[in-house]
Symmetry: C2
Subunit: 233 residues, 2 copies
Amino acid sequence: MAKASFNYPRPALAVDIVILCLRNGQLQVLLLKRKNEPFQDSWALPGGFVRVDAEGCGGEDLQVAAERRLCEETRLPPGSIYLEQLYTFGSPERDPRTRVVSVAYYALLPEGLADLAEVGERALEVGWFPLQQALNQPLAFDHLKMLQMTLRRLQGKLNYSPVALEFLPKYFTIAELRTIHQLILGEQLDPGNFRRKFLKWVEAGYLAVGEGTRTTGKKPAQTYQRGLKEWIY
Amino acid sequence: MAKASFNYPRPALAVDIVILCLRNGQLQVLLLKRKNEPFQDSWALPGGFVRVDAEGCGGEDLQVAAERRLCEETRLPPGSIYLEQLYTFGSPERDPRTRVVSVAYYALLPEGLADLAEVGERALEVGWFPLQQALNQPLAFDHLKMLQMTLRRLQGKLNYSPVALEFLPKYFTIAELRTIHQLILGEQLDPGNFRRKFLKWVEAGYLAVGEGTRTTGKKPAQTYQRGLKEWIY
DNA sequence: AGAATAGTGTCTATCAGACACTATGCA
DNA sequence: TGCATAGTGTCTGATAGACACTATTCT
């Protein structure tokens, strides 16, 4: 057993999470105001260190670490929220204190479940920011890059998957999904054309007809729900 | 300065690299036969630990670490090879010795540059394996997952980018690029239709007409090269 | 001359986008 | 009744795939 390799210095390992939610008709992102240096008083993404056992063995999975932090922050039960790995950031200068490598995740929260977030011990303040605003203000560390990358990733996914339903409750209408697509892409979409694309997903089994109708505008609309098939990336 | 956070146990951080190359008309991947436990005598992807300074600060960037290992293995100069982050694997059980989180990368090597690889100190043996064969044999750790993910990622990219030119020398023909697409996708492509897609990329500036022609089959064919525009993802 | 590949043309089904139109339920 | 939204139909241009065909050059 060559133990030698493991005596090398190790970096600290963190997860950071871009938590997006639909609030007041906007895409918003959860940010924390940092209590401590570095970047004290700056806004930052929620994150934390990955738990590793005392001897540097075992501990929790990365996805589990991200989910744990996500649920601490949102006060939501684990397992119910869409969470996906985004990218790993490891520049030696990204944290002035010590070497910290961070695995970034992004999470999509259904509308209405966002208001449970509370100020924890780590932060001075918790706030939901319109995504566009957050993208145009300084953030701690390389968190701005994480936001930018998340948006691009989502924009790409919309072409071939109905991921955006993760922002919606169990039953939703075509117009509701279209609205989210518009927010993410930053442009208006033709309702008729979007409808056809949507119905393709229904035919393919990714989406299914829901129960009853919902009135968001003038005329009640059919609701839909997840289909039997998972879209997987 | 709250140093407290950094006294928590840290995981070891590694990079693993899927190095693909075109050899003998096949897609091949570079594997090493492991000298030490765990998985002694098993085939594994090349990889290594990310360098971190003595006090656990600074050190090398992740991409740099991957490139360093890549160049050690292939004996090629840095900076010339396509290298992209794939995914980060962090299951607590992935390495039985200690907690090791691994950032996986994949690299695409131009044909003909593959033969410099030598057996280093770490390995018993170095070998190029046909990708399909490697995907159907047991590999150390979770390296099989890394291979599978790399293939899927590449297959996805071919739809909208000429990444596959990274497998080719500076000047190449349409048929050469098509051959690689066929290898990656595992299906035959219509030469005429592929040509039209190719010429779209030329029009878009991602590719450009090269100098002279090359004869791979019967009739000499026009060569092409990289265009001025980068395709970025 | 024959063979294999380079390169072109064409037909069709599908799809995205633009836009007009009908249907329905609420105020 | 008016109006905003749900939902349908239609036209057009772009695109992907299948496939036939011509052109070129090597042997």
